[in-house]
Symmetry: C2
Subunit: 255 residues, 2 copies
Amino acid sequence: MTNSEIRYVRSLKDKKTRAEAGEFVVESEKLVLEAIASSFEVRLICYCGDNVDRRIVSHPAAQTVDPKTMERISLLASPSPALAVVGMPAAATAGDIATLAADPDALCLALDGVRDPGNLGTIVRIADWFGIDAVLASPDTVELFNPKTIQSTMGSIFRKKVIYCDLTEAARAFSAAGAAVYGTFLDGENIYGQKLERHALVVMGSESFGIRDYLSGSVTKRLFIPPYPAGGTGCESLNVSAATAVVCSEFRRNY
Amino acid sequence: MTNSEIRYVRSLKDKKTRAEAGEFVVESEKLVLEAIASSFEVRLICYCGDNVDRRIVSHPAAQTVDPKTMERISLLASPSPALAVVGMPAAATAGDIATLAADPDALCLALDGVRDPGNLGTIVRIADWFGIDAVLASPDTVELFNPKTIQSTMGSIFRKKVIYCDLTEAARAFSAAGAAVYGTFLDGENIYGQKLERHALVVMGSESFGIRDYLSGSVTKRLFIPPYPAGGTGCESLNVSAATAVVCSEFRRNY
């Protein structure tokens, strides 16, 4: 690798550079393999050592680098044996959201301002496990291509559509298509007692603010995951990714 | 604060120093308030600025520090207005575990080698929300007093008992007391179809290894959170904290 190539890969640790280049970095053999197996365009692979999976080594965009170079380009405290530069998929359009909303089998999540990269990545992985059709996210939700987010998805980023969009418009599209719009609130109804619709958008609030006022009016059914025992134990809330796991499980357990 | 006091607080960022001193650090007004309200011994509070909650300012162990000092003692990238040094609770004994196991209402978690501090903290918070009686942890589970773990608990560390112990012995104690010993495995039975016992120990595996061989034989009922659709989508697993949230919800939803 030339020094200028090394500098370019390193520069992708910045959100602004990633957005301008339309490329992001994934690290670890597992994630590079997931990238290769996906519909994403893998533009460069750097690997290091003799024990790297041959699907990585034989990729047309692969080149071997020495450990010092890997240390320079890696964002990890302990660099892994493989790193890839991957092209971002095309942004979704309003038409894509309308198409999703119109599908009577579509169950989507909407994240209102989730800020923690690990939470976003974990939520994308949860959405993948539970076959959620897409994850919508307000424009101020943390960036999907943040390295911590990508690592937390454990590869689900390559399978699960995440669409940044205006959530009030998305909620309107789902409502217009006859879908329910759920949201979790501390004063919502016990989720365990509800008949949960299959065709739905489920809004999850952010770590600090929950579902904000601008959006709460778009929610037609307010849900709550009750603590145990019923009065609670002093714990104020569940982490948003833990709550998302419970909610997705509840929506899927009867199908 | 003297320089030697500042050095001491800073030294508590190291696990070994924490263990020797029997003290740990919590940061943020919320966590310091939770510490004050708990049964833990708050040995020192440092706060900074004029808008700090008066329950902090009026605490006998509280002292005001200037922003420069707060920056020096804080482990956070952006220091919060309050920090406390808190004494660790006494370690649990085998007798404590036997007492827990003998309680016919006790539902406990057992973590087999969870390595990520954020996962451990999130699991303690989940255990708090769902009224889990205690969280047992194998000796190689990440340390509870790691600053990232503490921040992730959002205060649940002050309410929820976490006991590091030999999990095969703990499983034996629960079995001997007539409790079920559950565990999650990729080849377990669909959790949604099970009658889940109220008196139980539920083993959760680590991020990389799941429930290890030394312990899997102690599990009497193997559970699985099914993906949707049934065959899965390529996603290999749920994050351990997400899985713990779903499992706790399933155990509590019918009570």
